[in-house]
């Protein structure tokens, strides 16, 4: 795989490719070194560092605007910023009372906004009901999300969540407002060990990704847990008991051996934009490709010496990017600041094709 030049100096928390509206591919990566970097990815896979912006705290998430002109970043400094790539200016667009864990750009026909999810639990009153009216499903919101009009310092709407927001995903589609075609999934961690979870009653959720059906309509989401399991979850499925399922991943060895199985956290899930297959990355330092429809594994990578902390596909699914860096799964003790962090690019055009067409 091709290594991205000038990777961040600390753990990489997020990766995101530019939307199709931009010619070429640009990759952003947020890191615990408080920065978010942008590379241009050429067709041959070579990367050219383009620019970088700083937060005053580690960057936890990042996303692009639909036109590719802006990058939004969420940070431990409790703010979210909008980075205008044309002017290379970054301005703060959101303020939370705790680190901002997730950020998503929401584009709907009559408005656009940014959704941030934070570890704070403060209630903030919103004043817009438009947004929620168009969201088909808020998947169990346990933390606190805010929807920011990027031009206004106050959130358009605030959802109070009883718990901290751990992961979220949004899919927005340019369809009529009443069709409620945008999808939203936000995840949280349950209080204590009580089984609030969806698919994993006792497990912490680490990542979520919405998937769409053949007509590009969001139909469900995949949820990654802290202990080597991913749940595929349909919204309003015809047959819930049959359609929803979980699968194990990121584990050391097969169940048939007598040795205890090492199970690792699923750090990231990404759906292939064309094939609808998905990739998962884990603390075990591997990435795997799956076909949820066929319920089969497409590929598992070699093990890297570090966890894979984030992954993403580019807009046409040709490039799969994944970041190799410590995810803090074993705490500070196992953190080696000297260890280099990598971002790798992989040609994903073929590997993620479903094998058996149904």
């Amino acid at each position: 795989d091709i290594e991205v030049t000038s990777p961040p100096d600390d753990s990489i928390s997020c990766l995101a490719f530019s939307p199709p509206t931009l010619p070429g591919n640009f990759l952003i990566a947020g890191s615990w070194a408080n920065d978010v970097r942008c590379w241009e990815v050429q067709d041959n896979g070579q990367t050219i560092p383009k620019a970088q912006q700083m937060h005053t705290g580690p960057v936890l998430d990042g996303c692009w605007s639909d036109d590719g002109s802006k990058v939004f970043t969420a940070s431990c400094d409790k703010t979210a910023k909008m980075w205008d790539l044309n002017s290379n200016q970054a301005i703060q667009i959101a303020q939370h009372d705790a680190p901002v864990k997730t950020i998503h750009w929401i584009k709907a026909p009559n408005y656009s906004c940014v959704m941030t999810g934070s570890w704070d639990k403060t209630l903030k009153e919103g004043h817009s009901s438009v947004l929620l009216a168009q969201l088909p499903a808020c998947v169990c919101l346990f933390s606190f999300h805010q929807f920011w009009d990027t031009r206004s310092p106050t959130p358009m709407m605030t959802l109070q969540l009883p718990e901290r927001c751990y992961c979220a995903d949004v899919v927005s589609l340019n369809v009529g407002p009443l069709e409620r075609k945008a999808g939203l999934a936000c995840l949280y961690h349950p209080k204590g060990k009580s089984a609030v979870g969806l698919a994993f009653p006792y497990l912490q959720h680490r990542c979520v990704a919405i998937f769409k059906d053949k007509v590009n309509k969001p139909t469900g989401f995949a949820l990654g847990s802290i202990e080597g399991r991913v749940a595929i979850h349909y919204i309003n499925p015809p047959n819930p008991a049959k359609d929803n399922f979980t699968f194990k991943c990121h584990r050391s060895n097969g169940t048939n051996t007598s040795a205890p199985q090492d199970i690792y956290a699923v750090n990231g899930i990404a759906f292939h934009p064309v094939h609808g297959t998905l990739a998962t990355v884990g603390s075990d330092g591997r990435f795997s490709f799956w076909d949820k429809d066929a319920r089969t594994k497409l590929k598992t990578s070699e093990q890297l010496d570090q966890p894979i902390s984030a992954c993403c596909f580019n807009h046409n699914g040709n490039i799969f990017a994944y970041a190799s860096s410590y995810d803090w799964s074993k705490g500070h003790e196992f953190y080696n600041p000297q260890k280099k962090n990598y971002i790798f690019l992989r040609n994903a055009a073929e590997e993620l094709k479903p094998r058996n067409k149904k």
Binding site: W32, Q160, P190, P201, W328, K330
Partner: protein
């Protein structure tokens, strides 16, 4: 700030104190907290604050009244917890109906979270008096948990396949309801909670079946109260801890810095005090010496001047312990004086008669007047001895006390201050107090002007009181070189009379611990009058103090000498305005100075005569002295001069020129102006004159000294405006004066104006407290003294200050100002003095502008400032200024506070490095 602290303290008390102690302290604390935040409407709905308020209710009796009060104040009106607590209290008291109305009120106000209120409301509705009453806080919990009943049936898309599961998941669900209610009903429908647990049983069962699994993450690390952390949270926690530590460390460092700064200030103050003390001790010594010497002089040449006896007399009076024999001839006269005020008058008369010799007749009489006025021999002695300096002299009073003379005025004086090491601050205060008590208002003003600080040098001088030699300082030399007349004057003959001045110096020393440089400088000034005084004495012995007009009319410039104190100030004043004069002939300059001094003299005289006629007039207490009396106590600072001060500003050429003239008394000032028209032209309207108290020498360049002074404001003596004036000994200027000035200010612990300077975070460029303010451009000519359109061809000596026109031998007028501005700007940009070069007909400063911020603008700036077509087409400074100002405001408005702090830090560092 304070509120924050209180809040934090409360948190601490609640969190970390043992319950017993907490119980004791909490009520008071909470009360404080309530008081602190009550006024601040922002906190009225703050949950933490409301909680505290509710808590306080436990300690308030009766609590319901307190709740009512809180409600009236608008505290917690939107918090259901507040209404619940209130209602519970009412229920406890059996007032169910009241409780119901309270809850209703809460519901009306849409207090959040509403569920709890509704619960309580339902409960109250069904309240059965036979039911056990509610028990305190316990009620709240059940209410919350009873949310379960409130659970709405599953919403669309939600499949609950496990009832038990729902129950267990009370928390999130209820919270979900909360969010819905808070966001309004329409939104509720949209929030879809999906509890898809279809897979749950299988997954859990399968995992149970599975062989041993080892989670490859550290579960223990993730454990946190009632929840589990994500890896990111874990890491973020660590990050924040680190960050906090770093921040605290930084804060500590800041505090330490601040502490060091304060300590330094304290040390400086201490040094100043010690210095004063030293001076006092020295003074005591020298006093003794003086006494001895004067005594010997008397014995050697008893008839030389009248002053001798006086000196001897006073000395003898002051020193009880040492032999009185030397001035024995005069001693008998004193005998009766101390106890009989009237005899003192007699004495003074006789003394006046005796002093009908050239020895500054008027002085004697002046002092005599005072003596009469005071009805105090000691005062008389003092007067005689001090002549000019009517300020009460501590050693003097000291001796007075020793003599146990019943002098009402004496009581203030801490008799043995110097020996007791009492702080000189107190001393100064005492003196001032004394003066005012004595009611010698006009004298006091005289005093004020005399209060020239002196240093230990003065003490050295006093050891040889009769050898009044000009102490050559750099400034003196320069002054001499530039002014022949002055030079001539400065050569002070050794005349016994000067012993008086020496004494005076001593006195000054007594009062003030000024910097050395200043002493030298002042002495230089002081010497000249002495010389003149002698001449004066010989020439105009017949002039008496009463008739000021006559006296004034006839007095030559020499007269000023007879009023040395004033003269001193005048000399100073004259020098202050020296810049404009430097281009005049020596003669005219001298003349001007003379005029100034004349004025001064006149004032003094006026005061005397007034004194004679209206002795009891207390209103004569000059504002200056008044002020001193009331203010110096805190500072222990010296009063160097009382001077009227007029600022001339020629806005067109940015020239600021300060002229100072002596005179604290407005009445006399007015009278003055009547007689001297041309002077008024220079000093401006008499009403525009100001009384200025020179506080200290704050900076010194090669050619000038800069003083900090206070504009005395009689109506508001506590709020003196600080002014800075520069006194150049020669025409040339030093660009760095301003900077030095601030440094010295900091050095001397004069933070006051600068504190304000730091606090001011606005970016008003016209605000003088903004930052460094350039007080002059070095060279200046008072263009009003010349016909309009005058241009000059002369050049100043210092090549660095020669403007382009001077260099190219062209006529110039305001070009020198433009050049001065450019040179100053250059100096600030590059840190060196500006050198100019001519590049293909355009004058440019040396140095590369490429690396400068805003290089283009500066380039243009210098191009404009240095290339002035001719005397009649001067570039518009206003336009340039507005451009610079715009740029400044644009680029630095946000940073100005930081920059100010930086400046102060730099200055402090600079000060340190100079040490």
């Amino acid at each position: 700030m304070d509120e924050e602290k209180t809040a934090r303290y409360v948190r601490w008390v609640e969190g970390s104190l043992p319950p017993q102690e907490r119980k004791q302290r909490l009520p008071r604390l909470l009360e404080q907290l309530l008081k602190a935040f009550l006024a601040d409407g922002r906190y009225h709905q703050d949950g933490r604050f409301v909680d505290r308020c509710i808590k306080l209710a436990e300690f308030v009796n009766p609590p319901c009244v307190y709740f009512d009060y809180l409600c009236g104040q608008g505290i917690g009106t939107t918090a259901s917890a507040f209404y619940i607590a209130w209602a519970q209290q009412l229920v406890k008291e059996g007032l169910i109906q009241c409780a119901v109305s309270v809850v209703q009120k809460g519901l009306r106000n849409q207090a959040q979270p509403q569920e709890n209120l509704q619960q309580l409301y339902c409960w109250l509705q069904n309240y059965n008096p036979w039911n056990p009453p509610l028990q305190g806080a316990a009620t709240v919990k059940p209410l919350q948990t009873s949310n379960a009943e409130n659970q709405i049936s599953p919403q669309t898309g939600v499949t609950l396949n496990d009832v038990a599961y729902t129950c267990r998941n009370q928390g999130p669900d209820s919270a979900g309801t909360q969010s819905c209610s808070s966001e309004g009903r329409q939104q509720v429908t949209c929030v879809t909670y999906i509890s898809k647990s279809e897979v749950l049983p299988t997954s859990s069962s399968s995992s149970a079946v599975e062989c041993k699994q080892v989670a490859m993450y550290d579960k223990n690390l993730l454990v946190c109260e009632g929840s589990e952390l994500s890896f990111e949270e874990l890491r973020a926690n660590r990050y924040f801890k680190k960050y906090e530590r770093f921040k605290r460390q930084k804060e500590q460092e800041e505090e330490e810095k601040e502490f060091v700064r304060r300590k330094e200030a304290a040390v400086l103050e201490l040094q100043a005090l010690q210095h004063k003390l030293e001076q006092l001790t020295q003074l005591t010594k020298s006093l003794e010496e003086t006494r001895l010497e004067s005594a010997s002089t008397t014995s050697v040449a008893p008839n030389k001047t009248v002053v001798h006896p006086h000196v001897a007399l006073s000395a003898a009076l002051q020193e009880n312990r040492v032999a009185l024999c030397q001035s024995s001839g005069l001693q008998p006269q004193q005998g009766p004086v101390p106890d009989q005020p009237q005899s003192s008058t007699l004495l003074s008369k006789s003394l006046t008669l005796e002093s009908a010799k050239p020895a500054g007749h008027w002085m004697t009489s002046a002092s005599l007047m005072k003596a009469t006025y005071r009805k105090d021999t000691i005062a008389t002695q003092r007067e005689l001895r001090e002549v000019q300096n009517r300020l009460v002299d501590p050693p003097c009073s000291n001796s007075a006390q020793e003599r146990a003379h019943s002098d009402s005025a004496v009581q203030w004086s801490t008799g043995e201050e110097h020996s007791k090491k009492t702080s000189s601050t107190g001393l100064t205060t005492c003196m001032d107090v004394e003066v005012s008590r004595a009611g010698n208002a006009s004298f006091a003003s005289g005093n004020a002007s005399q209060a020239t600080p002196n240093t230990s040098l003065g003490g050295a001088m006093q050891a040889t009181p009769f050898k009044v030699q000009p102490s050559p300082t750099v400034h003196t030399k320069e002054a001499l070189d530039h002014d022949g007349t002055l030079k001539a004057n400065v050569v002070a003959p050794v005349v016994p009379v000067f012993s008086i001045f020496e004494d005076e110096d001593e006195k000054e020393n007594n009062r003030i611990p000024p910097p050395k440089t200043k002493t030298e400088e002042l002495r230089t000034i002081g010497e000249r009058p002495m010389t003149e005084c002698t001449e004066e004495e010989t020439r105009t012995p017949e002039f008496l103090q009463d008739d000021c007009i006559v006296w004034n009319a006839s007095c030559t410039n020499k007269t000023l000498a007879s009023c040395p104190n004033n003269t001193r100030d005048f000399t100073e004043a004259a020098r202050l305005v020296s810049t404009p004069f430097s281009y005049l002939s020596v003669h005219s300059r001298q003349a001007l100075e003379d005029r100034v001094s004349k004025n001064d003299l006149q004032q003094m005289d006026l005061e005397f005569s007034e004194e004679l006629h209206k002795k009891a007039k207390t209103k004569k207490l000059s504002p200056a002295l008044n002020l001193i009396a009331r203010h110096e106590e805190s500072q222990g600072n010296a009063i160097t001069a009382t001077a009227s001060h007029k600022l001339h500003e020629q806005t067109t050429n940015c020239r600021a020129e300060y002229s100072l003239s002596v005179g604290g008394d407005k009445t006399s000032q007015e009278k003055l102006s009547g007689t001297e028209q041309d002077r008024t032209a220079r000093t401006g309207e008499p009403s525009g004159s100001l009384s200025v108290r020179v506080d200290c020498l704050v900076g010194e360049g090669a050619f000038a000294q800069v003083y900090q002074a206070s504009v005395l404001n009689a109506s508001d003596p506590r709020n003196n405006q600080k002014v800075i004036f520069k006194k150049s000994s020669t025409a040339p200027k030093s660009f760095m004066v301003t900077l030095n000035l601030i440094i010295s200010c900091l050095e001397k612990g004069k933070y006051l104006p600068y504190v304000r300077f730091l606090d001011n975070d606005t970016c008003d460029i016209d605000d003088l407290s903004h930052g460094l303010t350039l007080i002059d451009l070095g060279q200046s000519i008072d263009m009003k003294l010349f016909p309009e359109g005058t241009a000059f061809t002369a050049k100043c000596e210092t090549s660095g200050f020669q403007c382009i026109e001077m260099l190219t031998q062209k006529p110039w007028n305001y070009q020198t100002d433009y050049f001065g501005i450019a040179a100053t700007v250059y100096c600030m940009l590059f840190g060196t003095y500006m050198q100019v070069k001519n590049e293909s007909g355009t004058w440019k400063p040396e140095g590369a502008f490429r690396r400068l911020v805003n290089a283009e603008l500066w380039k243009e700036f210098f191009d404009i400032m240095l290339n002035i077509p001719n005397c009649h087409s001067l570039p518009s400074l206003t336009a340039l200024r507005s451009r610079l100002k715009d740029l400044f405001c644009k680029s630095y408005a946000k940073e100005i506070k930081f920059l100010r702090s930086r400046l102060v830090v730099l200055l402090i560092e600079h000060k340190r490095s100079r040490k």
